[in-house]
C-alpha cells in the first residue's frame, strides 16, 4: 500500500492507495501510532484509492484511534463501496467519522 501525505491547515491528510491487509497493516499502524504518541492528534484518511481492507486493516485503525490522546480524531472520506461495506458490517461506521469528501472531513 502506498501512502501519500499532504497537509491542510496543519491537519495531516493521508491518501491510502492499494490494499491494507496483514502484509502492511502492522507497519502502517506503527507509523501512525508513533505520530499519535508524539502528540499528533488529528488524522484524516483519503480512502478513494484504497481497494481492499482486511480485519488487520480494521484493527490498525482501531489501534491508531486508541493511541490518540485528548480530543483528537480519525476521519475518513470517499470510501470505495467495497471498503464502506466492510466498515458498515463491522460497525466501524458507528465509531469513526466518515465523510463524503475532503472539505466535509476538514470542516466538521
Amino acid at each position: 500500500m502506498e501512502i501519500k501525505e499532504t497537509k491542510v491547515d496543519n491537519i495531516a491528510i493521508y491518501t491510502l492507495i492499494g490494499r491494507l491487509d496483514a502484509s502492511n497493516a502492522e507497519e502502517f499502524m506503527n507509523k501512525m501510532t508513533t505520530l499519535a504518541k508524539a502528540g499528533q492528534d488529528k488524522f484524516v484518511f483519503d480512502m478513494e484509492q484504497l481497494d481492499y481492507i482486511s480485519s488487520s486493516g480494521l484493527r490498525a485503525f482501531l489501534t491508531i484511534r486508541k493511541a490518540i490522546q485528548g480530543q483528537g480524531f480519525v476521519r475518513f472520506y470517499q470510501l470505495t463501496p467495497q471498503v464502506l461495506e466492510v466498515f458498515t458490517i463491522s460497525a466501524f461506521n458507528t465509531i469513526f467519522q466518515i465523510f463524503e469528501d475532503k472539505e466535509a472531513a476538514l470542516s466538521a
Partner: protein, 293 residues
Amino acid sequence: MSKFLSIPEEILLLAVEDSGGINPHSKTLDAVLASAVLMDLAIRNRIDTDLDDLIPVRNESCNDLVLDEALSSIFEGKDKKSPAYWIARLGVRAEEFKEMLFSSLLVKRILKVENQKVLWFFASRKYPLIGDAEVKEVKSRIRDLVFSSDLPDLQDMAIVSLIYYGNMLPMVFTETEISTFHARIEQLARMDLIGQAIGKALLELAPGFHIASKAMELLGIRTSQEKLDELVDEVKAKYHITNDEDLPDWLRRGTPQYHKTLAFIEESGTNDIYYHHLKGEYVIKSRASAFSM
C-alpha cells in the same frame, strides 16, 4: 488486562463453574473455543480475514500449544477457506484443545484438578478454580468496556464477540444488563471481521453442537464398524464436513489411524471417543483416563 492468558484460556475460564464443571450456558463452547483460537491468531498477526476468506499469514510459533497446533493445521491446508470452515475443522479437535487449555491453566495455578470416583470403574475429573481473581478480572474488564463508550482493546473486543455470538452473555451479564446494553454489546461484537464470520458460522453450526450424546448406544448391540460409521456421520454433521478428505485421519477411511480407531472401539466398546493427536492417544470422553493406541 491479564496479558498472560490467551483468548481461548479466558473463554474457558468464563465457562468453568466454581465446582469445576462447565457452565450450562456454554453449549456452543466447542465452536466458541475454535473461534477464540482463530481470533487470537489474528491478533498475533498469524492469520488475516476478510468478508469471505481466512488468509494464512505467518507460520511462526506463538509459544502456545493450542495456537501452534491450530496454526499448523491452517498452514497444512492447500486452498484458501472461509473462517467458518476453520471453525468447523478446529471444532472437531475441541476436546483435545480443552485438555491442553486445562493443562495450561493448571500450570499457571489458576485451576486445580480433582479426581472423583463416580462408579466403581468410572473416574471423573474436574478442574475447579483455585481462586476467582482471574475470572473476576476478565468479567470486570468486559463489563467495564460494555458499560462505557471506550474503544476496546483487541482481546476484549474478541471476547465480547465470542460470548455474544456464542450465546454466553449470561455468564458475564444479568438479563437486565443484556437488554439495557444490547446495542453496545452488538456494536463491540461486530467490530472484527472474524467476529462477523464466527457469528455466521455459529448460527450454522450451533444446532450440530447440541447433538445428543450416546443415547444411541442404548438402542442395541452394534458392530464396531457401525459404531465407527455413526461417529464419522456425527462428526460430519456436527462440523458440516461434506468431503471425507476433510475428516481427521483417525476418522478417514484407508488411513492407518482409521484402523486403530476401529480397533479401539472394538476393545473399549464405545464410540464416545476422540483422538488426542499430540499424545497419540484415544480418549473416552466420559472418562478421565487416556489410552495409548
